[in-house]
């Protein structure tokens, strides 16, 4: 009593071709079971009874492809992921932004381009809070605007809750920071409202135009492009360059680089961390 008919070789090839051409997700020929096990529920929700019908929905409705990408990729994030990145932020990039604020720049805008369940954006909000207090300017926190976006509406929902279990909260977060920025509610840890208020989360598909997002001083695009083809990566970084201010910064995951890609960025390093600026 299958809710969707088992995927045929022809249907798999059509969906596989679509995934590689639109977003560069390159499935192996024997991964038909992945499509069937991960996308059956979506097919049912769309009223499709075969994967051929699901394919037609993906083509006809631009809202469907992001859901497919979300289901075919893995969500994993942690607090202050990649220590070197956060050290670079603290020692190099934030001091640059503080100088800009002193010189009268009204706002520093940051984008977490695949914010998942919120840890990256909230880690930054915590670091900014710590640094502003250390420098004796707690009022500066309000001049940072952090925007998190994700292809998954479920991840956005969870990020807005800002509530985590003890395992999740322990992944990358020190006991001191946990005590300073969370309060315990029954068995869960709720982030303080003043940190929640520093970040805004929305559903966004990286395949769309970035222009409506406005311009940014810092973009986190970490562990996002790893799933995608070379051409999709190049398009993605070109679009990021288009919304990054001329003196802005791009941060990638610790295991990522732009090596071998046509991308309008050049790398800089500080201590062990790497960041990217416009060429």
């Amino acid at each position: 009593m299958g809710r969707v008919a088992p995927i045929t070789e022809h249907e798999f090839n059509k969906i596989r071709d679509l995934l590689v051409s639109v977003c560069g997700i390159d499935l192996k020929p024997d991964q038909d079971y992945l499509v069937e096990t991960r996308l059956s529920e979506l097919a049912v929700q769309l009223g499709a009874t075969t994967f051929g019908e699901l394919h037609r929905h993906i083509i006809a409705d631009p809202e469907v492809m992001p859901k497919v990408v979300d289901l075919m990729t893995t969500n994993e994030t942690l607090w202050f992921r990649d220590a070197s990145c956060w050290l670079t932020l603290k020692d190099k990039l934030l001091p640059h932004f503080f100088e800009q604020l002193k010189e009268g720049k009204p706002k520093i805008r940051v984008w977490s381009a695949a914010s998942s369940t919120g840890q990256e954006a909230y880690s930054l909000a915590i670091l900014i809070d710590e640094e502003c207090r250390r420098l004796g300017h707690p009022e500066w926190v309000e001049r940072f605007e952090i925007r998190g976006t994700d292809i998954s509406t479920a991840a956005v929902f969870l990020a807005r809750q800002a509530r985590y279990d003890s395992f999740t909260v322990s992944r990358g977060l020190s006991a001191e920071r946990c005590a300073a920025y969370f309060h315990k509610e029954e068995n869960s840890y709720q982030l303080h409202q003043r940190i929640i208020d520093r970040a805004r989360f929305e559903h966004f598909n990286l395949m769309e135009s970035f222009a409506p997002l406005g311009r940014f001083d810092l973009v986190f695009c970490r562990n996002v492009a790893i799933y995608f083809s070379k051409s999709f990566k190049e398009e993605l970084f070109e679009k990021i360059a288009g919304v990054l201010n001329s003196d802005g910064f791009l941060l990638l995951g610790a295991t990522e680089s732009l090596f071998g890609l046509k991308a309008p960025f050049t790398s800089q390093s500080h201590l062990n961390g790497v960041y990217y600026v416009h060429k």
Binding site: R3, P6, T37, T74, E76, S152, A154, D165, T168, E186
Partner: protein
């Protein structure tokens, strides 16, 4: 989420430590979480209180998770309860068998809490405006 709207989730797994981890993870969503260590306890629990969602392991002593799923699916009272299978059983044939039988999502251990919670949110449609 108001107290009246609390969703009820049943975790069925023979490992106490995993039940504890899942229990805590699901409480983040302010669910009312209950546990069963096997099929028999699960059937009794479902009869007492129909859950909104079941998280089900495959390999358990006695009736396994797949058999239990079929039993729930074939009972009109429980047929509509969505089931997410969370199991170390990662053979392609088993995954397909479960999905074709009507399991909503199939997650293999080790799993990320982000993946589990996003699938739970999707099944229960908590992210709809």
């Amino acid at each position: 989420m108001s107290a009246e709207a609390k969703k009820r989730v049943l975790i069925i797994d023979d490992s106490q430590s995993l039940r504890n981890i899942l229990h805590e993870a699901l409480e983040v969503l302010r669910f009312e979480v209950s546990e069963a260590e096997g099929a028999e306890a699960a059937l009794a629990s479902v009869q007492a209180h129909l859950p909104d969602l079941i998280i089900l392991d495959w390999h358990m002593p006695g009736m396994d998770g797949y058999e239990l799923f079929l039993k729930l699916r074939d009972n009109p009272q429980t047929a509509e309860i969505p089931v997410i299978m969370l199991t170390a059983e990662d053979r392609k044939d088993s995954m397909l068998k479960a999905i074709r039988a009507g399991v909503r999502y199939y997650l293999t251990k080790p799993f990320t809490h982000e993946d589990l919670l996003t699938r739970v949110v999707q099944v229960l449609k908590l992210d709809l405006p």
